[in-house]
């Protein structure tokens, strides 16, 4: 039977199977799961978006704007989001307010640490866990977050492929191993929130912005305003 089976059809079938297999393996660890997280619809501004498996920082002039921007980015990760804060934090994340920014409560797990070292430990553990989509750590102004700590977090995020985000108040800028650092400040607005957003730093790239942006909840996009920049 082996002798009279023509070989070309068999090799074609094999090639087809190999193609399918290659497609599957490429999609499982890579593909959509590792695509960068878009910030703007217009990719000419900062490229395709923020890398997963990396640490990013958001410095906010007002706490509300930082949390909203973080929620927009986290919602775009897909997957479960771990939101870590310490007990000393005077503000609680309010899930009903995050839903308009695309972050649904069924995607959210809130964690409260008694002390800052535990929050850091939890962040590192979370970033190493590939089952999680993203992890965010709210860092107060007085909390020790030096180059070593951020490097640890970044390495953990690289190992787990999780999108890591540090939410810091405005003045707390020190050396950091984060891939990008964003600054967000609120602007006077009539209805939908408007922000001034700038990319203060990015590894291997130039700073960019500032842009004046507004969030459109219906289309889930950040709009660049005409007069901005």
């Amino acid at each position: 039977m082996t002798a009279d089976t023509p070989s070309p059809p068999r090799s074609a079938a094999l090639a087809r199977l190999r193609d399918t297999l290659a497609g599957l393996t490429a999609r499982a660890p890579g593909g959509a799961a590792s695509a960068p997280i878009p910030v703007f619809a217009d990719t000419s501004l900062i490229g395709a978006g923020l890398a997963r498996g990396a640490l990013h920082e958001v410095c906010a002039a007002s706490p509300g704007s930082g949390v909203a921007f973080a929620a927009i980015l986290l919602a775009r990760c897909g997957g479960q989001v771990l939101w870590i804060a310490t007990e000393q934090e005077s503000n609680l994340v309010w899930p009903p307010g995050l839903l308009p920014f695309g972050l649904a409560p069924d995607k959210l797990i809130l964690a409260r640490a008694a002390r800052w070292p535990e929050a850091l430990w939890a962040m590192e553990e979370a970033l190493r866990c590939p089952a999680l989509g993203a992890a965010v750590l709210m860092a107060g102004s007085g909390q020790g977050l030096d180059l070593t700590a951020t490097r640890r977090l970044h390495l953990a995020a690289e190992a787990g492929g999780v999108f890591g985000l540090l939410l810091r108040p405005e003045g707390a800028a020190g050396a950091s191993a984060a891939r990008t650092r964003w600054h967000i400040a609120p602007l006077a607005s009539a209805d939908a929130p408007r922000w001034r957003l700038s990319l203060l730093r990015q590894r291997g790239g130039a700073p960019a912005g500032p842009w004046q942006v507004a969030f459109n909840a219906a289309t889930n996009t950040l709009h660049l305003e005409a007069g901005g920049g």
């Binding site: 479960q80 994340v93 899930p95 920014f101 409560p105 006077a188």
Partner: protein, 496 residues
């Protein structure tokens, strides 16, 4: 051929005596009665022997009983606790026979077939059981017969611990009064009494067909069971699986590596038992006995039932560092304190339409984090009152669906843990125009509101005052969520 033999124990004052065991502070020589609420009335539910000797009866009004017997101590009845106690007692009775059953509310049934010779015969077995119960403060009456219901009927009525030879059941139960022996409903007893039928023998002499027509099958079933003509099955109690493993060591160990290696062995043994029992651990306790006779305990908990030794070992890694071995530990016990049913591994069928529970890697991460942090999953609630818009659900629960319209109102993204007092120093058209906040003056560029929220009266209790919410914007662009209630202004949250 010898058939089966049954030992029945009747505990006439079980509920009261069981409660007395748990409450040694109650004076033992004073009558005790338990009451239960029936509608608006409080009736006696159970008595001890002092109260029964004084002429009180179950079903009597509590007020009457207290008037008759002023020194009566009364406590509310705890039917669940007493049923659970009876099950425990049935388990204890397995020291006499492997098959024992609890017959609520106040009976035990033991299948002693083939066990009596271990105790020197049926009479010594019965005597040792009754005296063991008496030592713990329980009054008990026992009987042995070849039919379970005959033994039970005899135990309920006769105090002389009768032992009925096989085949003699019908003769033995014939003189027993119908009410106490068979536990027939009150209405049926009255009807039987009107016909002049008061003891079992009276009824047995009647033709069966008219009896069945008049009283239905329950009476005949009870009679047949009591005379041994028919043997309804008994439901033996099963001992809960033993979920503790102990290792005694020939030499004390004190290094962290040795302890971790021993824990691995204990976990492997325990997880094998859990797997056989179809359970997963929720809470584990590791007890380590030191050579100086003291013991140290470590506890871990998991969010979802788990029996993966590697995962449980990781959860123990952190608490293990707190052990102080000094001269070493010589004995370890690992005990699963709480367990939940858990199917076979890989049986991850999802309920249709429901979001999946976190499983696998994510559940393990949550367990690890849960040892040191407080985790919660926000579960949306259908409410407009800010504090009631979500509750903190366990992180291992499946996420709850979001009700339509939830979160649609322009809500703050951060809420103050404690509202921050603020002074409104100027108003424009009824809305705040300037603030004094954290010791500084702020002019407001914009104010929206008020949005009035009334408390949800349907939750009952004291109603908080209605609140007026204002969304204000400072000159810096920062937006705050102000609340005005009861004449006070507070910052309650931050808007995006």
């Amino acid at each position: 051929m010898k058939g089966r033999r049954y030992l029945a124990v009747h505990l006439p004052f079980w509920a009261a005596e069981h409660l007395r065991q748990a409450r040694p502070d109650l004076p033992a020589d004073q009558p005790l009665a338990l009451w239960a609420r029936q509608g608006a009335r409080r009736l006696l539910a159970a008595l001890d022997h002092h109260a029964a000797a004084a002429g009180l009866e179950p079903g009597q009004a509590l007020a009457d009983a207290e008037a008759l017997l002023p020194e009566l101590q009364v406590l509310p009845a705890q039917p669940e606790a007493s049923a659970a106690g009876l099950r425990d007692l049935a388990l204890w009775a397995q020291r006499f026979t492997p098959i024992s059953a609890a017959l609520p509310p106040d009976g035990l049934l033991l299948d002693i077939t083939g066990c009596d010779h271990l105790f020197g015969g049926e009479a010594p077995l019965l005597a040792s059981l009754i005296s063991a119960l008496a030592k713990t403060g329980l009054s008990a009456q026992g009987a042995i017969a070849s039919a379970a219901a005959s033994a039970m009927a005899l135990a309920r009525v006769r105090r002389d611990a009768p032992i009925i030879q096989p085949g003699a059941e019908e003769k033995a139960v014939a003189p027993l009064p119908l009410g106490p022996a068979l536990r027939l409903p009150g209405a049926m007893l009255e009807d039987l009494a009107r016909l002049g039928l008061r003891v079992i023998g009276d009824v047995l002499r009647q033709p069966r067909a008219p009896l069945a027509r008049r009283f239905g099958a329950p009476l005949l079933d009870a009679l047949d069971a009591a005379t041994g003509r028919r043997a309804p099955p008994i439901t033996p109690i099963a001992a809960p699986p033993d979920l503790a493993v102990t290792r005694a060591l020939p030499e004390p160990i004190l290094t962290a590596e040795a302890i971790a290696a021993l824990l691995d062995r204990l976990l492997a043994a325990l997880c094998a038992r859990l797997s056989r029992a179809g359970l997963g651990a929720r809470r584990l306790c590791l007890t380590a006995w030191r050579v100086d006779g003291t013991e140290q305990r470590l506890m871990i908990g998991t969010g979802a039932p788990n029996r993966d030794p590697a995962h449980l070992a990781r959860l123990f890694a952190e608490p293990l560092t707190s052990l102080a071995p000094e001269l070493g530990f010589e004995r370890f016990t690992l005990h699963a304190l709480a367990t939940d049913p858990m199917g076979a591994e890989g049986q991850g069928a999802l309920p249709m339409g429901a979001a999946p529970r976190p499983d696998g890697v994510l559940a393990q991460l949550l367990d690890r984090l849960g040892q040191r942090l407080r985790l919660a999953r926000p579960a949306p609630l259908p409410s407009h009152w800010p504090e009631r818009q979500w509750r903190a659900a366990a992180p291992h629960e499946a996420p709850s669906p979001t009700p339509p319209g939830w979160g649609a109102r322009a809500a703050p993204v951060l809420l103050r843990r404690r509202p921050e007092a603020v002074q409104v120093t100027a108003f424009a058209e009824g809305a705040p125009a300037a603030l004094r906040w954290r010791g500084r003056h702020y002019a407001l560029t914009r104010a929206e509101g008020p949005l009035r929220l009334e408390a949800e009266w349907w939750h009952g209790g004291a109603l908080p005052p209605a609140r007026d919410y204002h969304r204000v914007q400072l000159a810096s662009g920062e937006r705050l969520w102000l609340c005005h209630a009861d004449g006070r202004w507070v910052v309650q949250g931050d808007l995006p």
